[in-house]
């Protein structure tokens, strides 16, 4: 059975939202709406025997690319120019949430430095923890290419984290 739009929405909204943040979208709410609009239109092409998240990821990836052009500049300016972020200031409150938010912020900024298609591989594999086979299928690339992309993405990501003064 093919899931309904509402069912997909209920179950995967959070995933879509998180994915959009990872892909550099700042206005996740509107982008998420667009993801589900596209999902609705493409639902008939979805193979219900396949996992749905990589499929949603593919849609989110395209939506993110559309919206990112403007947003990424804003975001970099935000991160780059504002000096002490609240995160810096409240970091030693020992709140797990606050430190995770900080971590997420760092991860997202670093991800922005990973080339777009490699970032997709990285996010699917390292953050969504999809098997490499799924990653390759979802992105329509050969398995070997997925592996080599991941290696390069890791390098780019880790370099970016180091450069950004991560922990």
């Amino acid at each position: 059975m093919r899931p309904t739009l509402t069912a997909i929405y209920e179950e995967h909204y959070e995933y879509v939202w998180r994915t959009l943040l990872r892909l550099g979208v700042r206005d996740a709410e509107d982008a998420a709406q667009n993801v589900f609009l596209v999902a609705h239109r493409k639902l008939s092409t979805f193979d219900p025997t396949r996992p749905i998240r990589p499929w949603l990821f593919g849609i989110a990836f395209n939506v993110a690319r559309e919206t990112r052009r403007k947003a990424s500049e804003r975001y970099e300016r935000a991160i780059g120019s504002n000096g002490d972020s609240i995160g810096d200031v409240i970091g030693d409150l020992h709140s797990s949430d606050a430190s995770r938010l900080e971590a997420a912020q760092l991860v997202h900024v670093a991800l922005a430095e990973v080339e777009e298609s490699r970032r997709a591989v990285f996010v699917l594999y390292e953050l969504d923890q999809e098997p490499m086979k799924e990653v390759a299928d979802a992105l329509g690339i050969p398995l070997n290419t997925a592996y080599s992309s991941l290696r390069r993405a890791r390098q780019e990501f880790c370099d970016a984290v180091e450069r950004l003064g991560g922990r």
């Binding site: 996740a28 239109r41 504002n82 409240i90 409150l93 938010l101 880790c158």
Partner: protein, 328 residues
């Protein structure tokens, strides 16, 4: 199968933290989004979407919707909001400029047309419109409405489609109203300004504010996706960046009042992250200082306050912040 070495533990920990990070605003967005989505979906179907490329489809639909909405809002604005001042000015000033603007790409020229037209009428009309609008909201949102009413009224009534669309769009997607400087009821921080040529992208699905109850402009449900969507969706959905800013700030203030200072700071961090120089940045800073004091971090509060006061010496929050810090 190619061999993959494990990721360095420190990066693994970082990614693990990211996976568990709270998603600020997500739950609320999810709640208000479903009705909106289902509304949009039926709206989409009625419009005959046959193309396969999502962005193109969205673009086209959004353009149409925007055109329709702009057409209507322009008409309504002229009748309801800007009234006589706008009409007169529209006849005299806006007519020629706006016609030309419509012929051309409209996007760039519309800004100028709107500015010129609004400058003349803004002073008088702002007084009248502000009186009414101010009753509903002292917030900047009202300012935007006035500004846009004037712009739409002066220009849209004559030119309709193209010009109103161009004026309307940059405003809905960015807190940079083209005409606000001529009206200035309250200062609007100009940032996040995206070029107008980016107007027709998927994020046009940001529903315009016409669904606000206090708004003088109203899109007609039958005329646009946005309107249709909003009719079915939550009429209070914060669609504009400013409304989302407001939601985060309100959330923080409520948390502070309830004694959950840390929650407040987390919300404020979300605001800082998304709207570092947002319209409500000054309010945020004041709440951050309060939050830091409440969590026993006086020194950090003092530093934060000093930075803030040096950056915004004229801030309306200055007195309050000084009091807080002085009491430390």
């Amino acid at each position: 199968m190619p061999k993959l070495e494990p990721l360095d533990p420190k990066f693994r920990a970082l990614l693990e933290a990211e996976r568990k990070a709270p998603l600020i605003g997500m739950t609320e967005a999810k709640k208000r989004g479903l009705a909106l989505l289902l509304g949009s979906v039926s709206g989409l179907e009625s419009i005959d979407v046959s193309k396969d490329v999502s962005s193109d489809v969205s673009k086209d639909i959004a353009k149409d919707a925007a055109k329709d909405t702009a057409k209507d809002t322009g008409k309504d604005a002229a009748k309801d909001a800007a009234k006589d001042a706008a009409k007169d000015a529209a006849k005299d000033t806006a007519k020629d400029a706006a016609k030309d603007a419509a012929k051309d790409t409209a996007k760039d020229t519309a800004k100028d047309a709107a500015k010129d037209a609004a400058k003349d009428t803004a002073k008088d009309a702002a007084k009248d419109a502000a009186k009414d609008a101010a009753k509903d909201a002292v917030q900047v949102g009202a300012t935007k409405w006035i500004a846009v009413s004037l712009a739409s009224g002066a220009v849209g009534v004559i030119v309709g489609v193209a010009v109103s669309w161009a004026v309307w769009k940059p405003w809905t997607s960015n807190p940079k109203p083209v005409v606000v400087e001529a009206v200035v009821v309250e200062e609007i921080d100009v940032l996040d300004a995206a070029p107008a040529e980016d107007a027709a992208t998927v994020d046009v699905f940001v529903a315009p504010e016409p669904d606000r109850p206090s708004a003088p402009l109203r899109a007609r449900p039958s005329e646009s996706i946005e309107a249709e969507t909003n009719e079915r969706g939550d009429p209070n959905r914060p669609t504009s960046p400013l409304a989302r800013e407001r939601a985060l700030i309100d959330q923080a203030r409520a948390a502070l009042r309830a004694g959950r200072a840390h929650d407040a700071l987390v919300a404020l961090m979300g605001h800082e992250r998304e709207f570092p120089n947002g319209t409500l940045a000054e309010e945020r800073e004041r709440l951050v200082v309060e939050g830091l004091v409440s969590t026993g971090r006086g020194a950090a509060a003092r530093r934060r306050a000093e930075t803030f006061l040096s950056r915004y010496p004229e801030s309306a929050h200055r007195a309050r912040i000084e009091t807080i810090v002085h009491d430390l």
